[in-house]
Protein backbone atom coordinates (compact mmCIF):
# COMPACT_ATOMS: atom_id res chain seq x y z
CA UNK A 1 0.00 0.00 0.00
CA UNK A 2 2.85 2.37 0.83
CA UNK A 3 4.40 1.78 -2.59
CA UNK A 4 1.19 2.70 -4.45
CA UNK A 5 0.57 5.76 -2.29
CA UNK A 6 4.16 6.91 -2.78
CA UNK A 7 3.94 6.59 -6.57
CA UNK A 8 0.61 8.45 -6.72
CA UNK A 9 1.85 11.20 -4.41
CA UNK A 10 5.04 11.49 -6.47
CA UNK A 11 2.87 12.25 -9.53
CA UNK A 12 0.91 14.76 -7.46
CA UNK A 13 4.13 16.53 -6.42
CA UNK A 14 5.43 16.47 -9.98
CA UNK A 15 2.14 18.00 -11.15
CA UNK A 16 2.23 20.71 -8.47
CA UNK A 17 5.84 21.54 -9.32
CA UNK A 18 5.14 21.61 -13.06
CA UNK A 19 2.08 23.83 -12.53
CA UNK A 20 4.23 26.37 -10.69
CA UNK A 21 7.30 26.14 -12.94
CA UNK A 22 5.31 26.43 -16.18
CA UNK A 23 2.97 29.05 -14.73
CA UNK A 24 -0.05 27.39 -16.33
CA UNK A 25 -3.51 27.94 -14.82
CA UNK A 26 -4.09 24.23 -14.22
CA UNK A 27 -4.22 22.71 -10.71
CA UNK A 28 -1.22 20.56 -9.84
CA UNK A 29 -3.50 17.59 -9.11
CA UNK A 30 -4.97 17.74 -12.63
CA UNK A 31 -1.48 17.92 -14.17
CA UNK A 32 -0.52 15.00 -11.92
CA UNK A 33 -3.50 13.09 -13.32
CA UNK A 34 -2.32 13.78 -16.89
CA UNK A 35 1.28 12.78 -16.05
CA UNK A 36 0.02 9.55 -14.46
CA UNK A 37 -2.10 8.87 -17.56
CA UNK A 38 0.99 9.40 -19.73
CA UNK A 39 2.97 6.99 -17.58
CA UNK A 40 0.33 4.23 -17.84
CA UNK A 41 0.09 4.81 -21.62
CA UNK A 42 3.85 4.38 -21.87
CA UNK A 43 3.75 1.24 -19.68
CA UNK A 44 0.57 0.05 -21.43
CA UNK A 45 -0.90 -1.08 -18.10
CA UNK A 46 -1.51 0.08 -14.55
CA UNK A 47 0.87 -1.44 -12.03
CA UNK A 48 -1.28 -3.65 -9.73
CA UNK A 49 0.23 -2.28 -6.51
CA UNK A 50 -0.60 1.27 -7.62
CA UNK A 51 -4.03 0.26 -8.98
CA UNK A 52 -5.08 -1.12 -5.57
CA UNK A 53 -4.33 2.15 -3.78
CA UNK A 54 -5.90 4.23 -6.58
CA UNK A 55 -9.07 2.18 -6.47
CA UNK A 56 -9.22 2.61 -2.70
CA UNK A 57 -8.90 6.40 -3.00
CA UNK A 58 -11.53 6.62 -5.76
CA UNK A 59 -13.95 4.45 -3.81
CA UNK A 60 -14.20 7.17 -1.18
CA UNK A 61 -13.90 10.17 -3.50
CA UNK A 62 -17.26 11.67 -2.35
CA UNK A 63 -16.09 11.59 1.30
CA UNK A 64 -13.00 13.64 0.45
CA UNK A 65 -15.19 16.65 -0.47
CA UNK A 66 -16.98 16.68 2.89
CA UNK A 67 -14.45 18.70 4.97
CA UNK A 68 -14.43 21.50 2.35
CA UNK A 69 -18.21 21.23 2.06
CA UNK A 70 -18.72 21.84 5.77
CA UNK A 71 -17.20 25.27 5.00
CA UNK A 72 -20.71 26.21 3.84
CA UNK A 73 -21.26 26.89 7.56
CA UNK A 74 -19.45 30.21 6.99
CA UNK A 75 -21.83 31.25 4.21
CA UNK A 76 -24.49 32.21 6.77
CA UNK A 77 -24.19 36.03 6.89
CA UNK A 78 -24.02 36.47 3.12
CA UNK A 79 -26.96 34.12 2.61
CA UNK A 80 -29.05 36.46 4.76
CA UNK A 81 -28.36 39.33 2.33
CA UNK A 82 -28.50 37.75 -1.12
CA UNK A 83 -29.48 34.19 -0.23
CA UNK A 84 -32.59 33.56 -2.33
CA UNK A 85 -31.12 35.17 -5.46
CA UNK A 86 -27.84 33.26 -4.98
CA UNK A 87 -29.53 29.89 -4.65
CA UNK A 88 -31.81 30.60 -7.63
CA UNK A 89 -28.83 31.53 -9.82
CA UNK A 90 -26.88 28.44 -8.75
CA UNK A 91 -29.74 25.99 -9.27
CA UNK A 92 -30.72 27.39 -12.68
CA UNK A 93 -27.18 27.89 -13.97
CA UNK A 94 -26.04 24.41 -12.89
CA UNK A 95 -29.13 22.76 -14.42
CA UNK A 96 -28.71 24.70 -17.70
CA UNK A 97 -24.98 23.88 -17.92
CA UNK A 98 -25.60 20.18 -17.25
CA UNK A 99 -28.53 19.92 -19.64
CA UNK A 100 -26.93 21.83 -22.51
CA UNK A 101 -23.62 19.94 -22.23
CA UNK A 102 -25.34 16.54 -22.08
CA UNK A 103 -27.74 17.27 -24.97
CA UNK A 104 -24.95 18.73 -27.14
CA UNK A 105 -22.69 15.73 -26.65
CA UNK A 106 -25.53 13.25 -27.16
CA UNK A 107 -26.61 15.03 -30.35
CA UNK A 108 -23.04 15.09 -31.73
CA UNK A 109 -22.50 11.40 -30.98
CA UNK A 110 -25.80 10.35 -32.55
CA UNK A 111 -25.19 12.49 -35.64
CA UNK A 112 -21.81 10.88 -36.00
CA UNK A 113 -23.02 7.29 -35.57
CA UNK A 114 -25.73 7.91 -38.18
CA UNK A 115 -23.41 9.66 -40.66
Amino acid sequence: MLYGLTVICAFLLAGELLSRLAGVPVPGAVLGMLLFTGWTMWRKDIEPRVARVGAGLLRYLPLLFVPAGVGLIELGPRLAQEGVAMIAVLVLSTAITLGVTALTLQWLLRRRSRG
Partner: protein, 244 residues
Protein backbone atom coordinates in the same frame (compact mmCIF):
# COMPACT_ATOMS: atom_id res chain seq x y z
CA UNK B 1 -11.65 10.35 45.56
CA UNK B 2 -11.99 11.89 42.07
CA UNK B 3 -15.06 13.99 41.39
CA UNK B 4 -16.80 12.20 38.46
CA UNK B 5 -18.08 15.45 36.96
CA UNK B 6 -14.63 17.02 36.91
CA UNK B 7 -13.19 13.78 35.62
CA UNK B 8 -15.72 13.72 32.75
CA UNK B 9 -15.04 17.39 32.02
CA UNK B 10 -11.30 16.76 31.82
CA UNK B 11 -11.73 13.76 29.54
CA UNK B 12 -14.11 15.53 27.12
CA UNK B 13 -11.83 18.56 27.16
CA UNK B 14 -9.00 16.35 25.95
CA UNK B 15 -11.28 14.82 23.33
CA UNK B 16 -12.27 18.25 22.02
CA UNK B 17 -8.63 19.21 21.56
CA UNK B 18 -7.65 15.88 20.02
CA UNK B 19 -7.16 16.40 16.26
CA UNK B 20 -8.38 12.91 15.38
CA UNK B 21 -11.87 13.62 16.75
CA UNK B 22 -13.28 15.34 13.64
CA UNK B 23 -11.54 12.85 11.39
CA UNK B 24 -13.45 10.04 13.10
CA UNK B 25 -16.75 11.95 13.24
CA UNK B 26 -16.53 12.88 9.53
CA UNK B 27 -15.77 9.29 8.56
CA UNK B 28 -18.57 7.88 10.73
CA UNK B 29 -21.13 10.42 9.48
CA UNK B 30 -20.21 9.69 5.86
CA UNK B 31 -20.44 5.91 6.33
CA UNK B 32 -23.91 6.31 7.85
CA UNK B 33 -25.01 8.68 5.08
CA UNK B 34 -23.68 6.31 2.42
CA UNK B 35 -25.55 3.42 4.02
CA UNK B 36 -28.75 5.47 4.00
CA UNK B 37 -28.18 6.40 0.32
CA UNK B 38 -27.83 2.74 -0.67
CA UNK B 39 -30.73 1.62 1.51
CA UNK B 40 -32.88 4.34 -0.07
CA UNK B 41 -32.27 3.02 -3.57
CA UNK B 42 -29.84 5.87 -4.39
CA UNK B 43 -32.60 8.43 -4.05
CA UNK B 44 -31.09 11.73 -5.22
CA UNK B 45 -31.85 13.78 -2.10
CA UNK B 46 -30.16 11.15 0.09
CA UNK B 47 -26.84 12.01 -1.60
CA UNK B 48 -24.15 11.08 0.96
CA UNK B 49 -22.09 14.26 0.40
CA UNK B 50 -25.17 16.45 0.94
CA UNK B 51 -26.32 14.49 4.01
CA UNK B 52 -22.83 14.44 5.56
CA UNK B 53 -22.33 18.19 5.10
CA UNK B 54 -25.75 18.99 6.61
CA UNK B 55 -25.27 16.59 9.55
CA UNK B 56 -21.78 17.90 10.32
CA UNK B 57 -22.92 21.53 10.16
CA UNK B 58 -25.69 20.64 12.62
CA UNK B 59 -23.19 18.89 14.90
CA UNK B 60 -20.76 21.84 14.84
CA UNK B 61 -23.61 24.24 15.57
CA UNK B 62 -24.89 22.02 18.39
CA UNK B 63 -21.53 21.80 20.13
CA UNK B 64 -20.45 25.36 19.31
CA UNK B 65 -17.37 24.28 17.39
CA UNK B 66 -15.82 26.67 14.87
CA UNK B 67 -15.11 25.60 11.28
CA UNK B 68 -11.39 26.28 11.82
CA UNK B 69 -11.31 23.82 14.76
CA UNK B 70 -13.26 21.26 12.76
CA UNK B 71 -11.02 21.61 9.72
CA UNK B 72 -7.85 21.22 11.79
CA UNK B 73 -8.93 17.62 12.39
CA UNK B 74 -10.77 16.86 9.16
CA UNK B 75 -8.07 18.23 6.89
CA UNK B 76 -6.39 14.82 6.86
CA UNK B 77 -9.36 13.68 4.74
CA UNK B 78 -9.20 16.88 2.67
CA UNK B 79 -5.50 16.27 1.91
CA UNK B 80 -6.35 12.98 0.18
CA UNK B 81 -8.20 14.92 -2.55
CA UNK B 82 -4.89 15.54 -4.33
CA UNK B 83 -3.82 11.88 -4.66
CA UNK B 84 -7.44 10.88 -5.45
CA UNK B 85 -7.53 13.37 -8.34
CA UNK B 86 -4.29 11.86 -9.66
CA UNK B 87 -5.86 8.40 -9.36
CA UNK B 88 -8.63 9.50 -11.77
CA UNK B 89 -5.98 8.74 -14.41
CA UNK B 90 -6.83 5.05 -13.96
CA UNK B 91 -10.42 5.07 -15.24
CA UNK B 92 -9.30 7.62 -17.84
CA UNK B 93 -6.59 5.26 -19.11
CA UNK B 94 -9.09 2.38 -19.33
CA UNK B 95 -11.37 4.57 -21.50
CA UNK B 96 -8.73 6.16 -23.73
CA UNK B 97 -10.03 4.33 -26.80
CA UNK B 98 -13.39 6.13 -26.39
CA UNK B 99 -11.62 9.47 -25.99
CA UNK B 100 -9.62 8.93 -29.19
CA UNK B 101 -12.69 7.85 -31.13
CA UNK B 102 -14.80 10.80 -29.98
CA UNK B 103 -12.23 13.54 -29.74
CA UNK B 104 -14.14 16.07 -31.88
CA UNK B 105 -17.60 15.69 -30.23
CA UNK B 106 -15.99 15.79 -26.77
CA UNK B 107 -14.04 18.96 -27.60
CA UNK B 108 -17.12 20.70 -29.00
CA UNK B 109 -19.29 19.69 -26.03
CA UNK B 110 -16.60 20.91 -23.65
CA UNK B 111 -16.45 24.32 -25.36
CA UNK B 112 -20.24 24.66 -25.30
CA UNK B 113 -20.52 23.55 -21.66
CA UNK B 114 -17.68 25.81 -20.52
CA UNK B 115 -19.15 28.95 -22.12
CA UNK B 116 -22.72 28.13 -21.04
CA UNK B 117 -21.51 27.59 -17.48
CA UNK B 118 -19.97 31.06 -17.22
CA UNK B 119 -22.51 32.98 -19.31
CA UNK B 120 -25.54 31.46 -17.54
CA UNK B 121 -24.08 32.35 -14.12
CA UNK B 122 -23.34 35.94 -15.19
CA UNK B 123 -26.65 36.52 -17.02
CA UNK B 124 -28.84 34.95 -14.32
CA UNK B 125 -26.83 36.74 -11.62
CA UNK B 126 -27.54 40.10 -13.24
CA UNK B 127 -31.18 39.16 -13.75
CA UNK B 128 -31.54 38.32 -10.05
CA UNK B 129 -29.70 41.50 -9.04
CA UNK B 130 -26.53 40.05 -7.49
CA UNK B 131 -23.82 42.58 -6.58
CA UNK B 132 -20.82 42.77 -8.99
CA UNK B 133 -18.41 41.17 -6.48
CA UNK B 134 -20.82 38.25 -5.98
CA UNK B 135 -21.25 37.94 -9.74
CA UNK B 136 -17.48 37.70 -10.28
CA UNK B 137 -17.28 35.08 -7.52
CA UNK B 138 -20.01 33.04 -9.26
CA UNK B 139 -18.59 33.07 -12.81
CA UNK B 140 -16.01 30.25 -12.34
CA UNK B 141 -18.34 28.09 -10.19
CA UNK B 142 -18.22 25.01 -12.43
CA UNK B 143 -14.49 24.41 -12.11
CA UNK B 144 -12.51 22.69 -9.39
CA UNK B 145 -11.98 24.78 -6.21
CA UNK B 146 -8.29 25.83 -6.42
CA UNK B 147 -8.70 27.16 -9.99
CA UNK B 148 -12.06 28.80 -9.29
CA UNK B 149 -10.65 30.61 -6.24
CA UNK B 150 -7.59 31.82 -8.14
CA UNK B 151 -9.77 33.07 -11.02
CA UNK B 152 -12.19 34.85 -8.67
CA UNK B 153 -9.33 36.53 -6.81
CA UNK B 154 -7.74 37.64 -10.09
CA UNK B 155 -11.00 39.10 -11.45
CA UNK B 156 -11.99 40.97 -8.28
CA UNK B 157 -14.39 38.43 -6.81
CA UNK B 158 -14.35 37.03 -3.26
CA UNK B 159 -12.32 33.76 -3.16
CA UNK B 160 -13.91 32.51 0.10
CA UNK B 161 -17.38 32.97 -1.41
CA UNK B 162 -16.24 31.20 -4.59
CA UNK B 163 -15.07 28.21 -2.52
CA UNK B 164 -18.59 27.90 -1.05
CA UNK B 165 -20.29 28.46 -4.39
CA UNK B 166 -18.14 25.82 -6.10
CA UNK B 167 -19.06 23.28 -3.42
CA UNK B 168 -22.77 24.16 -3.68
CA UNK B 169 -22.63 23.81 -7.46
CA UNK B 170 -20.95 20.42 -7.14
CA UNK B 171 -23.50 19.17 -4.60
CA UNK B 172 -26.40 20.45 -6.72
CA UNK B 173 -24.96 18.72 -9.79
CA UNK B 174 -24.37 15.49 -7.87
CA UNK B 175 -27.91 15.53 -6.43
CA UNK B 176 -29.95 16.70 -9.41
CA UNK B 177 -27.68 15.88 -12.36
CA UNK B 178 -28.64 12.29 -13.02
CA UNK B 179 -32.41 12.76 -12.50
CA UNK B 180 -32.28 15.81 -14.81
CA UNK B 181 -30.39 13.93 -17.54
CA UNK B 182 -32.68 10.91 -17.30
CA UNK B 183 -35.61 13.30 -17.71
CA UNK B 184 -33.89 14.74 -20.83
CA UNK B 185 -33.52 11.13 -22.05
CA UNK B 186 -29.72 11.17 -21.83
CA UNK B 187 -28.86 7.59 -20.81
CA UNK B 188 -25.32 7.09 -22.13
CA UNK B 189 -23.01 6.82 -19.07
CA UNK B 190 -20.22 8.51 -21.04
CA UNK B 191 -22.38 11.55 -21.80
CA UNK B 192 -23.70 11.66 -18.22
CA UNK B 193 -20.20 11.51 -16.75
CA UNK B 194 -18.85 14.17 -19.12
CA UNK B 195 -21.71 16.60 -18.39
CA UNK B 196 -21.30 16.05 -14.62
CA UNK B 197 -17.58 16.78 -14.89
CA UNK B 198 -18.11 19.96 -16.95
CA UNK B 199 -20.92 21.38 -14.79
CA UNK B 200 -20.09 20.04 -11.33
CA UNK B 201 -16.30 19.32 -11.29
CA UNK B 202 -15.00 16.77 -8.75
CA UNK B 203 -18.20 16.31 -6.75
CA UNK B 204 -20.08 15.59 -9.99
CA UNK B 205 -17.27 13.24 -11.02
CA UNK B 206 -17.47 11.43 -7.70
CA UNK B 207 -21.21 10.92 -8.29
CA UNK B 208 -20.53 9.68 -11.83
CA UNK B 209 -17.96 7.23 -10.48
CA UNK B 210 -20.63 5.74 -8.20
CA UNK B 211 -22.61 4.87 -11.35
CA UNK B 212 -19.84 3.35 -13.43
CA UNK B 213 -16.12 3.48 -14.12
CA UNK B 214 -16.79 4.82 -17.64
CA UNK B 215 -18.94 7.67 -16.36
CA UNK B 216 -16.28 8.50 -13.77
CA UNK B 217 -13.52 8.48 -16.39
CA UNK B 218 -15.32 11.02 -18.54
CA UNK B 219 -16.16 13.11 -15.50
CA UNK B 220 -12.50 13.31 -14.53
CA UNK B 221 -11.48 14.16 -18.08
CA UNK B 222 -14.16 16.84 -18.44
CA UNK B 223 -13.29 18.35 -15.05
CA UNK B 224 -9.61 18.69 -15.97
CA UNK B 225 -10.26 20.12 -19.43
CA UNK B 226 -12.90 22.54 -18.18
CA UNK B 227 -10.46 23.92 -15.60
CA UNK B 228 -8.02 24.74 -18.41
CA UNK B 229 -10.59 26.20 -20.81
CA UNK B 230 -12.36 28.27 -18.14
CA UNK B 231 -9.04 29.80 -17.07
CA UNK B 232 -8.44 30.88 -20.67
CA UNK B 233 -11.96 32.06 -21.54
CA UNK B 234 -13.16 33.76 -18.35
CA UNK B 235 -10.94 36.87 -18.72
CA UNK B 236 -12.13 37.23 -22.33
CA UNK B 237 -15.82 36.91 -21.46
CA UNK B 238 -15.52 39.34 -18.56
CA UNK B 239 -13.69 41.89 -20.74
CA UNK B 240 -16.66 42.05 -23.11
CA UNK B 241 -19.45 41.53 -20.56
CA UNK B 242 -21.74 44.57 -20.32
CA UNK B 243 -22.26 46.18 -16.92
CA UNK B 244 -19.17 44.87 -15.12
Amino acid sequence: MVDPAAHWHEATGWLRAYPGLWLVVTGAVFLLADKLFRAGGRFALLNPVLLSILALIAILHGFGVSYADYFAGAQMIHLLLGPATVALAMPLYLNLHHVRAWLVPLTLALAVGCVVGMVSALALGQLFGLSPATLLSFAPKSVTTPIAMALAAHQGGIPALTANVVILTGVLGAVAGLPLMRWLKVDDPMVQGFALGVAAHGIGTARALQESETAGAFGGLAMGLNAVLTSLLLPLILAFWPGL
